[in-house]
C-alpha cells in the first residue's frame, strides 16, 4: 500500500510525515521525527522501553502503527524536561537515586512512572513495583528505580496541573 500522510502533536509541537502503514510508531518517532529518546527493545510489547504517552495514557509505541497516531497528542521522554532543559522532579529523582545504569529502559521507566503517578499520586512501594512492572530493567535490580519514584511522588503531586 502506498504511503500515508500523518499529522500529530509530539511534545506540544505539530509534526507531519509520510510513511507506509506498516511503520511502527516508535520507528516513525525515531527515524522520521528524529526523536531518538524513545528506545526500541523487544518490538513485541514486553520490555516497555518504547513506552510513550498517547493522549495522556502510557502505551507501547512498538504496538502502534504510526498511522494510528493521526491526530493524537504524544509525549516522549524528550517532552518531560522544561523548555530550558531543566529536568522535572521525576527525572531529577532518577538522577539523585542512581535509578539507571545503562539507561536503555529509562525513557520507558520515566513515562510509565509519569502515567502511574498521575493515577496514583501517593503510592506505596508495592504499588510502585506493580506500576512499573510494565518496564524491564536489566541493570539496576529495580530498587533504586522504586526509590526514585517514591521520592519524586510529592514533587510530582505538587506539579500536577
Amino acid at each position: 500500500m502506498s504511503e500515508v500522510e500523518i499529522r500529530l502533536t509530539v511534545n506540544g509541537r505539530s509534526c507531519a510525515g509520510r510513511c507506509e502503514p506498516r511503520k511502527l510508531l516508535v520507528d516513525f518517532l525515531r527515524e522520521d521525527l528524529g526523536l531518538t529518546g524513545t528506545h526500541i527493545g523487544c518490538e513485541h510489547g514486553i520490555c516497555g522501553a518504547c513506552t510513550i504517552l498517547v493522549d495522556g495514557a502510557a502505551a507501547r509505541s512498538c504496538l502502534l502503527f504510526a498511522v494510528q497516531g493521526e491526530g493524537a497528542e504524544l509525549v516522549t521522554v524528550e517532552g518531560l524536561a522544561k523548555e530550558n532543559g531543566e529536568l522535572n522532579p521525576l527525572q531529577q529523582a532518577f538522577h539523585q537515586h542512581h535509578a539507571l545504569q545503562c539507561g536503555f529502559c529509562t525513557p520507558g521507566m520515566l513515562i510509565a512512572a509519569t502515567d502511574f503517578l498521575r493515577l496514583n499520586p501517593s503510592p506505596s512501594r508495592d504499588e510502585i513495583r506493580e506500576g512499573l512492572s510494565a518496564v524491564l530493567c536489566r541493570c539496576t535490580g529495580y530498587r533504586n528505580i522504586v526509590d526514585a519514584v517514591e521520592a519524586a511522588a510529592p514533587a510530582m503531586r505538587a506539579e500536577k496541573p
Binding site: 506498516r22 518490538e43 510489547g45 513506552t51 502510557a58 502505551a59 512498538c62 504496538l63
Partner: protein, 287 residues
C-alpha cells in the same frame, strides 16, 4: 522484527468495517487495541493482507447498564474498565480481573472485545465472561447475532466468530448484590498470563450455597465452567469439606495443557488449590 506490508483501512462505522472485511474475503484482520495482534505481526506470525482499524468507531466504546445487563462496547479500553464505578458496583469480578490483565500501558490500549476475540487460553476477561454467563454481539453481512460465552470459546485462540464479523458488544449479567466473588491465579510475574486461574461467584444463605459459578482459565485450551464442582457446593453447602470436595472434583475433571511453562499435573494441582482459595475468599472465609 517489522511487520509485513498490509493495506490499512480506518472505517468510521461498523457497517463500513463489515464491508471492508467482506472485500478481503477472510484475509483482513480487525485491529482493536493491537496488544496481541501487533506482536504477532511484528514476528510475522500474522501477515494479514489488510488491517481494519476500528479504533475510531465511536459507537464501539461505551459502558451502559440496561436492566440486569452491563453492555460494554467491544472497543472499551481495559483501562476504562479499571476505573469505571459502574463496573466496580455491578461487576466486581471483572473489576478484580482487570488489574491482572497485562500492565498499565497495555491496558491503555487493550480492549475488552479484543481480548475476547483473541481468546488466549489464560486471558482473564474471557474467563470472567464464562463465569458470569455473558454473551457477545457480533455483526456481519448476514446481520447481527448473539453468542453465549459457552458457545464462543472453542479452542486456544479460536472462537465461533466468523472472519467477516465484527464483535460489537460484550454483555455481562449484573452480579447479584449479595454475591461474593474472587479471582485467584498463579503466574510467574504480575501481569503475565496465568498458569492457572479460577473465577468464583458465590451466593450464600448461611452455610447453604444458593448460587455457584466457577470457571477455570489457563488450565485448558479454553475457559470453562466447572459445573460438577458447582453442583457439589449447591448440594453440600459451603463447609470446609464440601469446598475441598468441589476443588478435588474440578481438579479431577480438567484436561490440562502441558507446556514449558507448567506441566499438566502442576496445572491440575493449581486448579484444586486455587479453586479452594477462590471459593473461600468469595464467601469471606480464611483459607
Amino acid at each position: 522484527m517489522k511487520p509485513a506490508r498490509f493495506d490499512y483501512h480506518r472505517p468510521a462505522s461498523i457497517d463500513e468495517a463489515i464491508a471492508v472485511l467482506a472485500r478481503y474475503d477472510g484475509e483482513a484482520r480487525i485491529l482493536a487495541g493491537g496488544q496481541s495482534l501487533v506482536p504477532m505481526m511484528n514476528f510475522r506470525i500474522a501477515t494479514p493482507a489488510a488491517l481494519v482499524d476500528i479504533n475510531r468507531i465511536a459507537a464501539l466504546a461505551h459502558i451502559t447498564v440496561e436492566g440486569d445487563i452491563v453492555r460494554v462496547g467491544a472497543m472499551t479500553r481495559q483501562r476504562e474498565i479499571e476505573h469505571s464505578p459502574v463496573i466496580k458496583e455491578k461487576l466486581p469480578l471483572l473489576a478484580e480481573a482487570i488489574r491482572l490483565v497485562g500492565h498499565l500501558p497495555t491496558r491503555s490500549r487493550g480492549t475488552v472485545g479484543g481480548s475476547i476475540a483473541h481468546a488466549d487460553p489464560a486471558a482473564e476477561i474471557p474467563m470472567v465472561l464464562v463465569a458470569l454467563d455473558g454473551e457477545v454481539v457480533a455483526k456481519g453481512p448476514k446481520g447481527e447475532r448473539h453468542i453465549a460465552a459457552r458457545d464462543l470459546f472453542q479452542d486456544a485462540l479460536t472462537t465461533s466468530l466468523s472472519s467477516d464479523e465484527v464483535l460489537t458488544e460484550v454483555r455481562f449479567p449484573v452480579m447479584p448484590a449479595n454475591a461474593g466473588c474472587a479471582l485467584e491465579e498463579f503466574s510467574r510475574r504480575h501481569g503475565d498470563f496465568a498458569l492457572t486461574a479460577i473465577a468464583a461467584v458465590i451466593v450464600r444463605d448461611g452455610d447453604k450455597c444458593t448460587r455457584a459459578q466457577l470457571a477455570t482459565g489457563g488450565v485448558e485450551p479454553a475457559p470453562r465452567r466447572q459445573s460438577a464442582a458447582e453442583a457439589i457446593l449447591m448440594e453440600r453447602g459451603l463447609g470446609e469439606e464440601a469446598i475441598a470436595a468441589a476443588a478435588a472434583k474440578a481438579a479431577e475433571g480438567v484436561e490440562p495443557l502441558s507446556d514449558h511453562h507448567a506441566s499438566g499435573d502442576y496445572r491440575r494441582h493449581l486448579t484444586r488449590v486455587l479453586l479452594e482459595r477462590a471459593v473461600k475468599r468469595a464467601i469471606g472465609a480464611r483459607s
